[in-house]
């Protein structure tokens, strides 16, 4: 974590127009532009391996938040929301840990620097989020507000940790050159107990300062701090504090600490002397640390609404006109000023992906803090940010599934966005297609279901997987496609003279009814089976039914009639007279339908077939009339 944390240390990150994709640099005038192909990619961050945990875990928290109905009101709801906020932060921290590990173990310097940058960015995000949690979600009131801010500072200013550790672990801490720095750090951060502990070491090591140490220790011990519970009112606390402040003042003016400049400066800090505090700039490293220290020692009962004044002046004093505020500073300032929209806007600009603003805004929306003023393109801010974030997820090969849930919770445009995105997910395995289909079916997106099934069925058909293609058409209840597949089977049959994929056709079951052609296919195959099993009369009946019930397409009638030939030629009579008349009618229907020109074009084979059929039918008729006319013997 660097001092004066920058949000985007790497200039490359800043230059990447993260929302609109990278722009091509304009060609230098007068010279032809280089002939390159640029790969433009939106939302680079989602491809960083170590951030995946962030996206996945936060998705779980997001869903949990949306699902938690407003069963609780008032205080318990607030507790619930604070818990959600803490969960988000712990996910950020976990991710930071992983990223840090990755940075440490990275051997490639470029990768190491990328990871380190990410650690900084995550750290800054957690810093901002934490402040927002204190000010907005928890909405700490005067009193607890200061305590929370102190915690916040202690958590995030870690530059000094090494120094502290070094001094504490040395043999003779009070002799260490950085001893007083560490005491100052503790005082600045309001860590009185730890400061007193170190002072006692000084007292035992240095007898001359025992008296001063005792007094200072006493002052530190007695310093009134706001309490979290309801043990004292603000007025009580203010009164105590005033007394204590005056006591410190007296000791200072009496020159009690005159002989030890360190302790004197500490006393001044306790009195809230701005200059004294400012002298310790290097130990505080940031203006917001300065702000909180100031508040601790000059105005511990600060009210939330008063923060803005102190914040502005603190920043001015600290930066002192040497440097201008950086993006992080602007964001924090906006937070202290309670300008929520400004915070969100600045974060959106500074960060390279929508994750942070989307989730934070959603949480703030649940806290009922965002007015529902519409942005000019119609949806409210929460929804806009969630839509942008989720859209970014959809370009990722696996995180798109998270995006679906985000769209679900965008009431206005979520569904439309989902419909458009889900159709564009590449479906390279059947399993993926099934997952996408399940999502569509659960949301009654019938158009998309049909479209996806058609794509999969077409792919299967092209790969000659007729069974798969049929399975997809059944899922979509797509009669037209089922007809297409059946035609393919029939075509194969006509060409090869036998059926392929019998395991499929023999086993159609109720799905046979999906399309007429499919029914025909199933029944036609049944006819063949009956014939193979020598159940001729049943086969004959079925064959006839296929034509008379118009299940068979007209184009196939010739084939069917030709199939009838062997039945007509059998030794025993199979077709009854009635049936034979029917067959003849079918044949006549078929030939009558042809125009004279077609008849002329018919080749010999065709005409011969028709002739043979007529002959066979006539012969059969003759035999059957005789048979039926004869009295049956017993």
């Amino acid at each position: 974590v660097h001092r004066r944390k920058k949000l985007s240390c790497d200039p490359e990150y800043v230059n990447k127009a993260h929302k609109e994709g990278r722009f091509l640099s304009p060609p230098v005038s007068g010279r032809p532009s280089s002939s390159c192909v640029f790969v433009v990619r939106k939302d680079q961050d989602i491809y960083i391996q170590t951030l995946r945990k962030l996206f996945n875990e936060s998705h779980g928290i997001f869903i949990g938040l949306q699902r938690s109905e407003e069963e609780f009101a008032g205080k318990s709801r607030k507790t619930q929301l604070v818990q959600v906020s803490k969960n988000y932060r712990s996910v950020i921290r976990a991710c930071m840990e992983d990223m840090h590990q990755a940075a440490v173990s990275a051997r490639d310097p470029a990768l190491h620097s990328q990871y380190s940058t990410q650690v900084s960015i995550l750290s800054a995000m957690e810093l901002i989020w934490n402040l927002c949690e204190i000010l907005f979600v928890e909405a700490a009131v005067a009193g607890p507000l200061l305590l929370r801010l102190l915690d916040w500072v202690r958590l995030h200013v870690c530059d000094v940790d090494n120094m502290v550790r070094e001094v504490l672990s040395s043999e003779n801490p009070s002799k260490h050159e950085l001893f007083w720095n560490v005491v100052d750090v503790f005082v600045l951060q309001g860590r009185m107990d730890e400061a007193r502990h170190l002072l006692s070491k000084e007292a035992s090591a240095n007898p001359t300062s025992v008296n001063m140490c005792r007094i200072l220790d006493d002052l530190m011990k007695k310093m009134p701090v706001p309490s979290l519970g309801n043990t004292q009112t603000l007025t009580e606390m203010e009164l105590k504090w005033q007394h204590w402040h005056e006591e410190c003042q007296r000791y200072l003016q009496d020159g009690t600490f005159a002989s030890n400049s360190h302790m004197e400066s500490i006393c001044k800090i306790l009195l809230g002397d701005e200059n004294a505090i400012l002298e310790k700039k290097e130990l505080m490293t940031t203006w917001y640390h300065f702000l909180v220290t100031r508040l601790l020692y000059s105005h511990p009962t600060v009210k939330p609404m008063e923060l803005r004044f102190y914040a502005q002046s603190s920043m001015d004093l600290f930066l002192g006109g040497e440097s201008s505020p950086e993006p992080l500073d602007t964001i924090l300032m906006a937070a202290f000023e309670f300008e929520l929209h400004q915070v969100i806007k600045e974060c959106s600009i500074a960060l390279s992906n929508w994750w942070f603003v989307a989730h934070l805004t959603d949480l703030l929306d649940h806290c009922k803090l965002l007015q529902s003023h519409n942005l000019y393109f119609g949806s409210n801010m929460r929804e806009f940010l969630l839509l942008e974030y989720a859209s970014g997820l959809f370009s990722h090969y696996s995180l798109w599934q998270l995006g679906v849930d985000y769209f679900d919770h965008c009431p206005e445009y979520g569904r439309v966005y989902l419909e458009l995105h889900i159709e564009r997910i590449p479906l390279n395995t059947e399993q993926k297609a099934l997952k996408v289909l399940r999502i569509c079916e659960q949301r009654q997106m019938h158009e998309q279901v049909r479209s996806i099934c058609k794509i999969m069925a077409m792919k299967a058909l092209r790969n000659n997987r007729l069974g798969s293609a049929l399975s997809w058409s059944i899922r979509a209840k797509d009669a037209a496609f089922a007809t297409l597949i059946s035609d393919r089977f029939l075509k194969d049959y006509c060409e090869k003279g036998c059926f392929s994929d019998l395991d499929l056709i023999d086993n159609l079951g109720p799905s046979m009814l999906l399309s007429d052609r499919l029914t025909f296919l199933g029944k036609y195959r049944e006819f063949h089976r009956l014939y193979g099993e020598k159940r001729f009369s049943e086969a004959a009946k079925l064959l006839l039914m296929l034509m008379t019930a118009h299940i068979a397409p007209c184009s196939f009638w010739m084939t069917l009639l030709t199939d009838a030939l062997p039945l007509l030629e059998q030794k025993e009579v199979i077709f009854s007279a009635e049936q034979t008349y029917e067959l003849m009618r079918c044949l006549e229907d078929l030939t009558a339908g042809k125009s004279d020109k077609q008849k002329f074009q018919d080749d010999d084979v065709e005409t011969m077939k028709v002739e043979m059929l007529r002959l066979a039918l006539a012969r059969n008729l003759a035999r059957v009339i005789v048979k039926e006319g004869t009295l049956e013997g017993s």
Binding site: T429, E430, G467, D501, L504, N507, P510
Partner: protein, 357 residues
């Protein structure tokens, strides 16, 4: 997507981020400490530790441990790869690969591969099935396939498992369960079973560890079917289970009265028939005890398995959903002893070390 497969070996489990083509898919080996035993000093086991991982080309569709060190992985590109886990230096390396073991019409075309959807091993034999309807029989360390049945099925084969040492079971996307005898040379299944009613695709299959005639399958509609392959061509019982595709079904290898299923709807169910006491005649009880439970070994041999009973509700089968807050799909699960492992689309793996506590 997310975590697509988990496979448990005695000491470690393999997990893979199943994803698509160009991106970063990995096979990872994790250590979960001693299974079933608390550490020597009673120490807390802690989280699974990542031991090693390796890039994988294509989605991982299925995988299984071949032996203590080798894992067979089925890829969406149609490749089947054996990875070896070197325990001395904790690395993974690709040991052997069968390129485009599964392919559509033109094997040499760049996109000609077809996803290999299922793999089952019985050292040294490996059987794979794929979206091309093909069945391959490989032998570890043998370069060419021992046997290939082209166009074994006109639809996609979703899963395969061993029935006996020379027979396999496959399920496909038109709701058929087929038995194949690998000793026979003909390329036809020796038996075909199918669902009644709609031909809902079947996605997973598993065989009872002790009673080999009992087979469980899971379908696209989340239905669990139990089959007795000695009789009939239809399932013995159909149990309405999940609300979406059932991805995997597993009998517990040593406690087969327990069955586990996981689904796209994000739930993982534990089916427990061990407490079922139907009106069995008393002479089947052990000795003079009028107990309400029996030791598992004796009951499996002497009594008709609870799985085949016609009325599971009468026999008090306990069904529990092991996932409290379900969100995304549970893609895969595996069990060994008291340890259950499952992986979800939220890119997470969960280890439950006290299944029967």
């Amino acid at each position: 997507d997310g975590t697509s497969c988990v496979s448990v070996c005695a000491r470690c489990l393999a997990k893979s981020d199943g994803v698509i083509s160009i991106q970063d898919n990995r096979i990872s080996i994790w250590s979960v400490g001693d299974l079933g035993n608390v550490g020597l000093n009673g120490e807390y086991q802690g989280e699974p530790q990542l031991l090693c991982d390796i890039r994988h080309n294509g989605d991982v569709m299925d995988m299984q441990f071949l032996d203590q060190e080798r894992i067979v992985v089925a890829s969406s590109t149609g490749n089947v790869t054996i990875f070896r886990h070197h325990q001395n230096n904790q690395t993974l390396s690709a040991n052997q690969r069968w390129e485009k073991a599964h392919y559509h019409v033109d094997r040499d075309a760049s996109c000609g591969g077809a996803a290999c959807t299922g793999v089952i091993c019985s050292n040294p034999e490996i059987v794979t099935v794929g979206e091309d309807g093909r069945i391959n029989l490989f032998r570890a360390d043998q370069k060419d396939a021992v046997r290939t049945i082209d166009n074994a099925d006109s639809s996609t084969l979703h899963a395969v498992t061993f029935l006996r040492t020379t027979e396999i079971l496959t399920v496909n996307s038109i709701g058929q369960l087929k038995i194949w005898d690998l000793r026979q040379q003909r390329n036809e299944p020796s038996q075909i079973f199918s669902l009644t009613g709609d031909r809902v695709p079947l996605h997973c299959v598993d065989r009872h560890p002790n009673q080999q005639h009992i087979v469980a399958t899971g379908g696209q509609d989340g239905m669990l079917s139990i089959w007795d392959i000695r009789q009939g061509t239809m399932p013995v019982s159909l149990l309405n289970a999940h609300e979406a595709e059932m991805w995997e079904v597993h009998f517990h290898p040593s406690n087969p009265d327990h069955l586990f299923t996981c689904s796209e709807d994000g739930s993982l169910w534990h089916w427990d028939t061990s407490t079922s006491v139907s009106e069995k005649p008393s002479f089947l009880h052990q000795g003079g005890r009028s107990t309400t439970y029996f030791s598992h070994n004796t009951i499996n041999q002497s009594v008709v398995s609870a799985w085949l009973s016609n009325d599971p509700t009468k026999d008090r089968m306990e069904i529990t959903n092991l996932i409290p807050n379900q969100t995304l799909s549970v893609n895969s699960l595996d069990i060994l002893g008291p340890c259950l492992v499952y992986g979800t689309d939220a890119e997470a793996i969960y280890v439950n070390r006290h299944l029967f506590a």
